[in-house]
Symmetry: C2
Subunit: 407 residues, 2 copies
């Protein structure tokens, strides 16, 4: 859900067209830009001058000369504006500041309990965000948008969490308003964390994949669905919720949700740790399990592989239903190495339809733990290019009044 700052001046629509064109990073001459956008040479010259003045475009050099005076070429200046991604988990906050192409310029990770409630958490997020931007010697007004991922269902139309099970005190909170109160009149997007992880993986590692299923395996298990290049959120924004799907062929283990045989109760980090503890290998959290595997504990490795098989049984159904070209596995349990992905692959390839698996990649996340923040920043930049007024405003003029106080 986006709320964008109101502009005092609306930019010429052609500025947006030029910026869109230059987004691919290629440099172009004024003549090329005029030809492609259909604008006159003189209008294009005025626009380029405007974009140069705003710092959004920079001269790059001269195009190969064909005789006379070589023509100057221009390209997007990616670092001229900033995008911010915020990833809030049950017990951590990760914040990244990127340029307009998603390149990370500054980042921060700290332990922060989401259960402390929105006031404490969002105060801290705003403070760190402002510090990161200030640390880059940039004004907050350079930030074109903030994409925030929350560990629970988010109503896409309002950006408010909807009965999030592990976020006491957050139900219905106006996260957009709360951040704008702290950071000034800035564009804020709020989404489910796994959706932004899917977006981050897609943008940074698999931009050409149109159909991607990103699976987060940690204490909870969830997924983000990219269909035809866009996030599929579903009617209430709860799409991708794998944690309480029944695992075919599994024992009817009781789940905290009241049903039996749910994926999370069988293959979530807590469930795996509990099973190991029963077997005499003490473990409490997903981290404990990962550490055991990394230290060569064979029972832990086998338990993670078993969890992978159960996840694979559910993913096989998802693959038949969605027919993605890639299934990417992230989340803290994926740090246990090949054991998890091996178990998943084993069942997905044996249980899904041949047509659906023929060209299917099943792989561990490349963006890793940074998928969420990179996805948030990417979403913020995407939004700004779709609403060029967010890019073309004069940063020095429109910096929010409240920024200094918050910083």
């Amino acid at each position: 859900m986006w709320l964008t700052r109101r502009m005092s001046t609306v930019p010429a629509p052609e500025l947006g067209a030029v910026l869109h064109l230059l987004r691919d990073g290629r440099s172009r001459t004024r003549a090329e830009l005029a030809r492609t956008t259909g604008l006159s040479r003189s209008t294009m010259s005025t626009r380029i001058d405007e974009l140069l003045r705003l710092g959004l475009v920079a001269p790059v050099g001269d195009a190969g000369s064909t005789g006379g005076r070589p023509a100057a070429t221009f390209a997007l200046a990616p670092a001229s504006r900033l995008a911010v991604g915020v990833d809030l988990g049950a017990t951590h906050a990760r914040i990244a500041v990127t340029d307009l192409t998603g390149h990370e310029l500054a980042g921060h990770l700290e332990q922060l309990r989401i259960a402390d409630g929105p006031d404490i958490v969002l105060d801290r997020v705003a403070t760190v965000l402002a510090e990161l931007v200030t640390g880059l010697d940039r004004p907050l007004g350079d930030v074109v948008g903030v994409g925030v991922g929350l560990p629970g269902p988010v109503d896409h139309m309002t950006g408010r969490p909807t009965k999030p099970p592990i976020m006491p005190g957050w139900d219905g909170t106006d996260v957009v308003g709360a951040l704008r109160q702290r950071l000034g009149n800035i564009a804020v997007l709020v989404d489910n964390d796994v959706n932004l992880m899917a977006l981050g993986e897609h943008a940074t590692a698999l931009p050409d994949v149109e159909h991607l299923l990103y699976v987060k395996v940690a204490t909870g298990i969830g997924s983000g669905i990219i269909a035809d290049g866009r996030i599929h959120r579903g009617a209430q924004g709860s799409a991708g919720d794998l944690g309480h799907i029944a695992v075919p062929g599994a024992e009817p283990v009781r789940c905290a949700c009241g049903n039996t045989g749910c994926l999370e109760a069988i293959a979530g980090g807590g469930a795996v740790a509990a099973r190991l503890t029963e077997q005499g290998v003490p473990a409490r959290t997903t981290s404990d399990v990962v550490d055991l595997v990394r230290h060569g504990d064979l029972r832990a490795a086998a338990a993670v592989r078993d969890a992978g098989r159960s996840i694979g049984a559910v993913l096989a159904s998802c693959v038949s239903l969605l027919n993605p070209s890639a299934v990417v596995v992230g989340g803290s349990m994926s740090r246990a190495g090949e054991h998890l992905i091996a178990g998943i692959r084993e069942v997905v390839y044996s249980r899904s339809l041949p047509l659906a698996t023929q060209h299917l990649r099943v792989a561990t996340s490349i963006a890793g733990a940074r998928a969420g923040v990179l996805g948030g920043a990417h979403a913020a930049a995407e939004h700004a290019f779709a609403h060029p007024a967010l890019l073309t405003r004069d940063a020095a003029v429109s910096a929010p009044e409240s920024a200094a106080a918050t910083a």
Copy 2:
């Protein structure tokens, strides 16, 4: 996959804008149309005259006068052009001719074996199609497009069936080319039948539902996914294939595909018939099962309800993953009355996440057996509005040369 006729004259882009606007069926004055499209009054008058001449727009009456001479209003003339839907099943062909709003003007159903191969089947389709159009006293040139549903996977980019299990002789067939050879240079779309059923149900019964899962239960079991108002086809076009998803909690019944516990092997029409036969109630096909239920056979009713529960167990996973607002059940087994849907509802509501089922409707198809043809015709009309040259060509001039021969 569409191949559209090459136009000798490209229509002014404004014609498309005017037609788009009038598609909602409302009538408007020239002034209203000019205001909304941003065209000048005089350009709009010329365009309206052109559309009147082409018969695409008709004068409807006078707008409420505010004093002076009342202004004439115009509306789309839905019957000025035709769209055709073709639904080919294992043993039937259904063809419908509709107007531009999807209203059925002529229809035909006959037994036709898809296994007889593309030559025989497509000859017959072309003949019946031409007869239906001729029977309406209309030239084939009035047809803006044909949407064809096939009972197997279809490569969306080429419109060719891809290793379809129940369509011997069709693998890789150029269905678009074959129909154009028979019907002239006409726009042809080919898709999986269940995708077109989902589209037909969506267009005729649930146009406001953005996220719809249409499930066809017959000898085979498949689904069509509408996500954000559009068909989700997946990477290879095999999305929605439910038949070989493992049923959670089911016995490991062996399936023809080589796996065990597949939904089709447990709840498909043939599987239900076989189980009834074992119980001393002879049945061979889905029709037999439906007839038994309709004649009050309690064991058949119980078997269908059981099949519904197994389908519900798989759909519960689909609902958690996709978060649709409606699950619609069609296909021949849905004619067995409330037993099937009752079994499905029972498990979907108990197994899916509360957030995903809170506003979920689970209902029997309203479009019924005509969902596929209506979806095909709807897709053809949609395509024509997106490519207005298909609407604005002069029918009398561009009727295909081969049409008469085929008819």
